[in-house]
Symmetry: C2
Subunit: 404 residues, 2 copies
């Protein structure tokens, strides 16, 4: 990831403001926070390397079951890496479960991954019950084709794996669910794709290198800080690549759950909106350009979608004649450029970020970068970016209604 253009409006606020390096220092002073130390946990990586290797070789297809932090990262990775042998199931929608069942004539060649940090997530456990029952109709035992990812402490999911002898991969206690994509969760996805785990780790590590901090991390953080100081209400994250779009859906959760807290003495977090270019230039762009609601725009661009060599030999229309003798991918590239240019001309704050490749390294770097930025923004806002008080009421009501 490298910033290729950035422009913002600097805002002076009366209160003393923390700078990006100060925010990072404050974040790293919080000894109870573990996500940025994941790269140093050798045991974790070698465990996934071993268990993942065996598991990846044993099955042809994989069904990944989790919700929220246990599914958004894996879904984004599966999309970005363009693999189709891993299906991520999130919602306990019976229509979706039955469709997944219909997809396979037999579950014989399917490996299952059940992920719940707490080990008590009802949607995930109900889906485990569902597959137990379905595999039993084939005389298969779910426990023999499953890996579990959870915290190493007693819980429904942990106990199930222990009792049934299913391998367990660990999410460390000091790593929050939405900050867990670089734990065994993302690591196992890399292994199931038979890719290089070391590169994923190096990518994550690279986000904390001095030069990267100065050239990318701090300027990005500063960009968002100015936005919060201006009291913006929307942050648009644009992805110019179909396969990369789900990286934005992962970011939406990270941003919204971490930063939207009532307790902030100074700021209200922006609502994050992941957008797909050029698609959404035909849908929500109007709002972005015209609304009087304050906003920032981040444009993510990918060489893989902008520099493919496929060419049209003949073009049939005045509109497409400009593509003659140019790769077809030129069109998406131009549309991405036009997005940044139009933001410049409209004087909207914009940050453009380029990706040379969308591989294991880039994913590790992307995840670590935004996790650090969100953590830093939490320090900037003087809130706890690592709790989620607002989702509790819904959980309590669900539990009450379920037991009635």
């Amino acid at each position: 990831m490298q910033i290729s253009y950035i422009s913002t409006q600097t805002t002076t606020a009366s209160n003393a403001q923390l700078t990006p390096p100060q925010c990072l220092d404050k974040l790293m002073d919080r000894k109870e926070i573990g996500f940025y130390k994941l790269t140093e946990m050798n045991n974790l990586w070698s465990q996934t390397e071993q268990i993942g290797e065996t598991f990846a070789n044993k099955f042809k297809h994989f069904i990944w079951v989790g919700i929220g932090g246990s599914s958004l990262g894996p879904k984004a990775m599966v999309g970005a890496l363009k693999v189709n042998h891993i299906q991520v199931l999130e919602n306990p929608d019976i229509q979706t479960l039955l469709a997944a069942k219909k997809k396979f004539p037999s579950f014989k060649n399917v490996g299952f991954v059940f992920v719940s940090k707490s080990g008590t997530t009802i949607e995930t456990l109900a889906t485990l019950d569902f597959f137990s029952q379905e595999l039993a109709t084939e005389n298969l035992q779910l426990k023999n084709q499953t890996v579990v990812i959870t915290e190493l402490k007693a819980s429904s999911l942990y106990d199930w794996a222990k009792t049934n002898g299913a391998p367990i991969l660990e999410i460390p206690l000091n790593v929050g669910g939405r900050f867990s994509v670089l734990s065994s969760i993302g690591q196992l996805v890399i292994k199931l794709c038979k890719l290089n785990l070391g590169e994923f780790r190096h990518g994550a590590e690279s986000a904390l290198k001095t030069e990267y901090k100065e050239r990318t991390l701090f300027p990005m953080a500063q960009f968002f800080m100015e936005s919060f100081k201006r009291k913006d209400v929307l942050s648009y994250f644009w992805y110019y690549s179909d396969s990369a779009f789900l990286l934005g859906k992962w970011l939406e959760q990270l941003w919204a759950e971490s930063l939207a807290k009532r307790e902030s003495p100074l700021y209200v977090a922006t609502a994050p909106i992941a957008s797909l270019g050029a698609n959404d230039q035909h849908s929500i762009l109007q709002q972005m350009m015209e609304t009087q609601l304050g906003k920032t725009v981040v444009v993510h661009r990918f060489k893989s979608s902008e520099e493919h060599d496929y060419q049209l030999k003949t073009t049939q229309f005045p509109e497409t004649s400009v593509l003659k003798n140019r790769p077809l991918s030129h069109l998406l590239k131009i549309e991405a450029q036009a997005m940044t240019e139009s933001q410049k001309e409209s004087k909207n704050p914009v940050c453009e970020i380029k990706f040379d490749k969308l591989d294991e390294f880039a994913l590790g770097q992307y995840f670590m970068t935004y996790q650090l930025i969100v953590g830093m923004m939490g320090e900037f806002m003087q809130i706890d970016a690592f709790n989620q008080p607002g989702v509790e009421l819904g959980k309590i009501i669900t539990k009450k209604l379920l037991t009635q």
Copy 2:
């Protein structure tokens, strides 16, 4: 669609306000606006009935090419109707086009639909060039397996269809792109799914019946009007069904492009956010519950996902024991109820809408209902809901960069 619960905060504003019936009257006084008269255009429906019937029987798979208003409705319908023989291609991302090519060993059994209201959309035309070239490598001619949907007036797409003898289905001149899902566009999707076109039409008609207006349309419009008077900035549209979620993405465009205009003397349009329940209860719910940004919440519930009879014979966890002797779909139902309940308790304005079925009729009614509401909100805001000034700058810059 019927409202099962609605609660809002009434706001008095000093300016004289239009009521929902007055807004509807004003909308219908605009003779240049055609979308709500589509159901009366007999020729359009019988033409789609005939051309669609032949086309649907001729091919096994279909590739639908369009972007924005030409793709969001079809995508939502394909999702809602749970068919998998229609693939919608929107983005000119070369990676996606090559993946679509790889999916079919031959294009022999594939019918193509190219949709562009203006007939000049570069993304759609470039994709047409792409498939022309690819079919030619198989000695197939694209024109022999294509239906075109566009306005009946000279344009690149219209001229191509005329010259090559491909059937043309019409988008009337007085129907805007994002308001066109009930035109030949949605109609052809129904035919390709071999469903009942008459029911789709009846559904659309039903939204203008007196009883429906009084029980559903006007209360919904009033709900949003209060929201705009309060100067809310976010409208969350929740869908409790995986297959229905894309109805929300369709609505996002309709809402954002129609209502986000600088010209409004009184109001700023909310940013629409389509959310998937229960999934997003594990992601963006925190922001919705905790943010100090003003918001409204609409919860859409579907019997098909809440009342399926699949049961778990055994449950293995304390958390899932409550599902014993109840259908598994009970879980999603309870989560939807919990969402509405938690909004009530938090005193957030909420509107809950139920769908008995998600069939042709329901789709027609859904599309017409929200199109009317958005049109009415335009009148309420004193803006033109049918133009899109904000997307022009991007288009101009794209054109400039392309011809450099």
